[in-house]
Symmetry: C2
Subunit: 257 residues, 2 copies
């Protein structure tokens, strides 16, 4: 039986330590193809590149381990990896380890989780890993054993249909982590401000800044789990429909004369 084929990507870019950590771990589980954006792509969400042509750069091509960069987004990377490099579907897609939390609504802005969701659309089992430390020097050493236990389980059991996992790891010493919690996505928002400046020609420009604010603190949310030193695992699906609201809106009896 041939070894499983594992595609690894991220949104922090090909040079991110979190990607090196994750692709190193995955070598224990199969043939690894790394394809990631050449530049950091945080906050790129599910964007795809349609205005400029995509290019791929081969960095490493060894038996069992290949590494490529591309000029696209994380979602482009998954598409290129599957449709240009492999020419078929990998057995597993993992993304990360992200430098920074992708808990709560951050899943929506995250390029890392977008890559995972893209794989899920394609029917490929997929898991995203994030460490709640945004710094490039983040210490990923506590992550390895959690990545392993989750990947092993997913490779053995599979995942529920059209569902991927959003795994966040708290930024604390390995011995302080209290375990793994299966959770729902917590509610929250970014309390944002624009840092307003003037350029040397006296024209205004703006930088987005902000702090995440949580709205609920139920023990069943990823936000609670992380702030209580648990690894959070949220099963994420592709259906954004608010099914409960359908009946309510049907009552509006919308029609045009």
């Amino acid at each position: 039986m041939s070894k499983p084929l594992i595609l690894v990507t991220n949104d922090d870019g090909i040079q991110a330590p979190g990607l090196a950590m994750l692709s190193g771990i995955m070598r224990d589980y199969g043939r690894v193809i790394v394809i990631a954006p050449q530049d950091p792509m945080s906050g790129m969400s599910h964007a795809v590149t349609v205005k400029v042509p995509l290019r791929i750069k081969t960095l490493i091509k060894e038996e069992g381990f290949e590494m490529y960069s591309c000029n696209g987004t994380p979602v482009d990377a998954v598409k290129l990896g599957q449709k240009v490099i492999l020419r078929h579907k990998p057995d597993l897609v993992v993304a990360g380890i992200n430098h920074g939390s992708n808990s709560a609504i951050n899943i929506l802005y995250s390029g890392t989780m977008a890559a995972v969701i893209e794989a899920t659309i394609e029917g490929i089992p997929a898991v995203g890993f994030s460490l709640t430390d945004y710094s490039p020097q983040a210490d990923f050493s506590a992550c390895a054993k959690y990545v392993k236990v989750i990947v092993e389980k997913v490779m053995k059991q599979g995942l529920p249909a059209a569902t991927c996992l959003n795994v966040n790891i708290p930024d604390v010493a390995a011995e302080e982590i209290r375990g793994i919690k299966i959770c729902k996505q917590g509610r929250g928002t970014w309390d944002e401000e624009f840092d307003e400046r003037k350029d040397p020609r006296n024209r205004d420009y703006y930088w987005l800044t902000g702090l995440f604010k949580t709205y609920e603190n139920g023990h069943d949310t990823d936000v609670w789990a992380l702030s209580n030193k648990y690894v959070s695992v949220v099963p994420v699906h592709l259906d954004f429909t608010n099914h409960q609201a359908i009946a309510e809106i049907k009552k509006w009896n919308l029609h045009v004369e």
Copy 2:
């Protein structure tokens, strides 16, 4: 009582006919602030701009109608409109009318629906409108009365908590439209290929191409409604958790020795 304040945006850019159509309609309902990307931003999803500073250009500033362009994404436009131009929340955000369908999984790639979802995160009632015709010369004339009936209802009734509407209008003559269906998001995917080319220096490059393929044809989906000449209205929420999968994954009993 002051008139409602309505923010209008899109992802096809400030010059798109669909935006002009929608902002024109909205003038009947309140003070209108249009802020949209200066260039087309289709496929930008929920991306935010963090690498380059954002800039805003004032195009029109009249009593009751203002128009701005920005160098950001649709999500940036909603944030800038709210936090820099208005300095408070508008009463309603509408986006579109999109040139092309945002039904099924396309909601995930769409900058138009991302703008609507961003407003929803901020607690602002929001509706996205799309016409299932991708051409810049799309005929939006059938859309107006559907936009009106939906906007009037949303302004009167409000929306369920943390829920927005994804409205798609079929590209058929007004008299052929059979009505409005409240639906769930249909399942489907893009059957994609990369168009592979060589540049004058003999280096490979790739353009993303593809056709949407539907997986289900239930009469309760937006895909069915549109192909049967109904306007589809899908209530969309912000929770991506697959709640049913939580119990299943809890049974895995994930733990690290």
